[in-house]
């Protein structure tokens, strides 16, 4: 089995991971312009060297509250259709994990969020949710229009 290169970051006390090939860059938080009436998980847009990029709140998207106002790092990720910045508390590491260490999500979690996950990565006694960005940024999803929870 091949190994998987992932970038691990922390939001709201939990660890998440995305495939390194989807990460464009990691930048310090810049000023985010709010977009009125945008879906709740969209914090707004920011300027990344002349490109307008939406910033998203992962926790709102996953229905786990909302990301702290103090979060100072933006991880810019790309899928085929979108480029977005995820606001995170901390970027922990870039690491390589064997594909065998990735469990299918449905086994572990039953809170309805498994469709946004590709799997759960086990590393030592740490558990990291490997995000499925395509599902996360899909407009067809019902949670897309969900209102942001007040924290």
């Amino acid at each position: 089995m091949e190994n998987l290169q992932i970038v691990v970051f922390k939001v709201g006390g939990l660890e998440y991971a995305v495939g390194i090939e989807q990460v464009q860059e990691i930048i310090d938080r810049v000023e985010i312009t709010r977009v009125p009436h945008a879906p709740g998980f969209i914090l707004g847009v920011f300027n990344l060297r002349g490109k307008i990029v939406p910033a998203i709140d992962l926790l709102v998207r996953l229905g786990l509250g909302s990301t702290s106002q103090d979060a100072q790092i933006i991880v810019e990720v790309s899928t085929e259709n979108h480029t977005v910045g995820i606001l995170v508390d901390d970027v922990i590491e870039t690491t390589e994990v064997p594909a065998t260490d990735i469990e299918p999500p449905s086994v572990m979690i039953g809170d309805g969020n498994q469709k946004y996950l590709k799997g759960i990565v086990k590393k030592g006694n740490r558990l990291m949710s490997l995000l499925d960005l395509d599902a996360l940024l899909s407009k067809e999803d019902s949670a897309y229009t969900g209102e942001r929870q007040v924290s």
Binding site: V30, E31, T33, V45, I52
Partner: protein, 716 residues
């Protein structure tokens, strides 16, 4: 030979040739006897044949060859131009276009042209009554005769080129110094691909050894390949005929060289003749040019003064549109950075710094306008396919329609030109189908049998105005009212109160078509709404004016470019900055709280005697830290969108600025109210308000609150 690198050029040029043929055929249909038109079409077909054969597109080559044969017959008046022949020829062009599109997209399932070729062959055989058509059309007996005759004439003597009196005098002086005047006819090989390059080589080689007095066709046309296979020139040098012949024949792809001594003595009279009215005009013009050229040529013939270089036609380069887009993006970045620098300059207030920024600003502005101009293309690129379309429509609908085009040279941004085609097609089809009446009906109404559709374009300030008008039936506003009630768009009461202007707007709603019968052309209930939304997407407007029985005019107004606009920056709450396109702003006013009226939860003000809705943008956008307005005054920006006025209350005005429109990611595209975003001088992002959408939101809100109120009333 690997030809793939020439593919783009091939496609572009082939398109031009097809367009020329399209235009030529249309002209030919009007005036079947016009030889110059036939000549143009013939040449285009011929060039296309050569090009496609070189590129290895054999079926294009075969089809154009067959077309060329037909044109040749038409040229020699051996077959008549019938509507059926024209239809077949037009079909061939369609097929060629389809073929090219496939080539351009890298697809390989090329359309089958066998059917068309045999159709063309049948036409040839049927009319010419030839037993068989050999590969070479000239093998047909009739054609052969004509050809032989032509060749005989040619061999006998080249028709001397007419020269102006001054030129002749100067030539005579040169001849007395021992130079030999020659007239040379150079015929290029039929398979020669780069004809203009060959012609250039011939001219250059001759020029190195002598003096070219005149070239027919003129050098400009040679450069543009506007010649068939041969061209002639009058030449002065110390070389004799065989020497000149060997100079020319050293160049490859030359099929034949005919040389005669230029009959100067005989032409002494002709020179005088040239002054007469019937004296050929080009030679007069040529005389002046020759005079201008003479001094250069006397002092050693350097290349810069050669006819090919002195060409008055400006030098152009074909540029990949992607490169221009890239350039435009870079300029846009530069504009943003200029704003940022200006901001820093203001913050630091250093004179020398500000001065430099001022200069930079000037350069950026110049650069920007230059790049914009480079992206401008004449609207003809869209218009040029319409004559053909209207012709087909009129045949299809059994109507007689003249299309008059004005202002085709009007330029606008490439991106707008690319988008404007479909809406115009809709409107033209609409005019042909709903507007223009059948010929019998027109006669009955005392109108000329054939209807006229006028398509015009012009610049108006920072906008381009495109008008499509017809002299047809016009719009029956009462019919619209009835239809609208019937379709449930409005109630009977509303219909009675509807002004004509408002009724016209209903036509742009989806699902609305007043055509009595559904035809193949229009009347499917889609069309005008698509037109309206497409044009709005381009930041433009479309209006309709009509008079029953007299005709209708659609007026489209479009911005020159989509990328950079002037905007007013406004502040909402304490921190949020939004941009309002200056184009939409009518006036900025101060209002007092008393002026603000509230009806059923909706705010209104009286503006110039008109009640207009007022929107508190901070409220609408739920701005977090709202500003308390305890003072009596508020700032209001009055905007005009789609004919409606709207007052937008803002918390502060920041100022006017040039902004670059950037599109929003798909994730937030559906969010209403914003046309895009712009990056401000301090690097932050500001959203650009879409006034049309805001007007729509307001309307919806008004309706909703109205309904809530109504519901509340009924409950009571």
């Amino acid at each position: 030979m690997d030809t793939s690198q020439y593919l783009g050029i091939f496609v572009d040029e082939a398109k031009e040739h097809i367009q020329n043929m399209n235009e030529g055929l249309l002209a030919l249909e009007q005036d079947p006897e016009d030889e110059s038109t036939i000549e143009v079409i013939f040449r285009a077909a011929h060039t296309l044949k050569g090009m496609s054969a070189t590129m290895g597109f054999d079926s294009i080559a075969e089809l154009t060859h067959a077309m060329e044969n037909v044109f040749d017959k038409i040229r020699h008046a051996e077959i008549k131009v019938t509507p059926e022949t024209m239809d077949t020829l037009f079909k061939c062009l369609d097929s060629l276009e389809e073929f090219l599109a496939k080539v351009a997209n890298g697809e390989e399932d090329y359309p089958d042209v066998e059917g068309l070729i045999s159709d063309l062959q049948a036409r040839l055989e049927g009319r010419a009554e030839a037993a068989a058509i050999a590969e070479e059309d000239l093998a047909v007996p009739g054609a052969e005769e004509a050809d032989d005759k032509a060749r005989a004439e040619e061999a006998a003597l080249l028709e001397p080129i007419l020269l102006g009196a001054d030129t002749l005098r100067e030539m005579q002086e040169e001849v007395q110094k021992g130079l030999i005047p020659l007239q040379i006819k150079v015929t290029l090989d039929e398979n020669c691909v780069l004809k203009s390059a060959r012609a250039y080589l011939v001219i250059r080689n001759l020029e190195e050894r002598g003096q070219i007095v005149k070239v027919v066709p003129p050098v400009e046309e040679l450069e543009e390949e506007k010649f068939d296979l041969s061209f002639e020139l009058v030449y002065l040098s110390y070389l004799n005929k065989p020497e000149v012949r060997s100079v020319i024949e050293n160049i490859s792809e030359i099929a034949a060289v005919d040389i005669i001594e230029y009959p100067l003595a005989d032409k002494a009279k002709a020179g005088a003749e040239a002054d007469k009215p019937e004296g050929s005009e080009p030679s007069q013009v040529e005389t002046d040019e020759y005079k201008k050229e003479t001094p250069h040529q006397d002092k050693g013939r350097d290349h810069k003064s050669s006819p090919l270089h002195k060409s008055k036609v400006r030098q152009t380069v074909r540029v990949d549109i992607e490169k221009l887009d890239g350039l435009m993006n870079l300029v846009a970045e530069l504009v943003i950075n200029r704003s940022r620098l200006a901001q820093i300059g203001v913050d630091n207030n250093q004179a020398i710094f500000n001065e430099t920024i001022g200069e930079l600003a000037q350069i950026t502005t110049d650069l920007q306008s230059l790049v914009m101009k480079a992206r401008m293309v004449p609207i003809d690129q869209v218009f040029n396919r319409f004559p053909r379309m209207v012709r087909d429509l009129s045949r299809e609908l059994g109507k007689e329609i003249n299309l008059v085009i004005e202002g085709a040279e009007t330029e606008l941004d490439r991106s707008v030109v690319d988008e404007i085609g479909d809406p115009l097609v809709h409107l033209l089809r609409n005019a042909a189908d709903h507007g223009i009446e059948p010929p019998e009906e027109r006669e009955r109404l005392g109108k000329p049998r054939s209807g006229t559709i006028k398509l015009s374009a012009r610049h108006e300030g920072n906008q381009v105005v495109v008008e499509i008008s017809d002299d047809g039936a016009g719009i029956d506003y009462d019919k619209i009212r009835r239809k609208a009630v019937q379709k449930g768009f409005i109630t009977e009461d509303e219909a009675n109160n509807l002004t004509n202007e408002e009724a016209a707007k209903l036509l742009f709603k989806s699902g609305f078509s007043t055509a009595e019968k559904v035809t193949d052309v229009s009347g499917r209930g889609v069309g005008l709404d698509v037109v309206a939304s497409k044009i709005q997407a381009l930041n433009g407007t479309v209006d309709l004016e009509s008079e029953l029985g007299k005709g209708s005019t659609f007026t489209i107004k479009l911005p020159l470019t989509l990328a950079i606009i002037q905007a007013l920056l406004v502040k909402l709450g304490k921190n949020e900055v939004y941009a309002l396109p200056l184009e939409n702003i009518e006036e900025i006013i101060n209002i007092t709280k008393d002026e603000l009226k509230s009806v059923q939860g909706q705010k209104y003000i009286l503006y110039r005697g008109q009640v207009i809705p007022a929107i508190d943008l901070s409220e609408l956008f739920e701005v977090p830290d709202a500003v308390e307005h305890d003072q009596a005054k508020r700032t209001m920006v009055v905007i005009k969108a789609a004919g409606r006025r709207l007052g937008l209350m803002v918390d502060d005005l920041i100022g006017q600025q040039e902004i670059v429109i950037k599109s929003l990611d798909n994730l937030i595209k559906d969010v209403e109210g914003f046309a895009g975003a712009a990056i401000l001088g301090d690097g932050t992002v500001s959203l650009i308000l879409d006034v049309l959408e805001i007007a729509a939101i307001q309307k919806r809100l008004a309706k909703e609150t109205g309904e809530v109120q109504e519901a509340a009333c009924t409950r009571e």
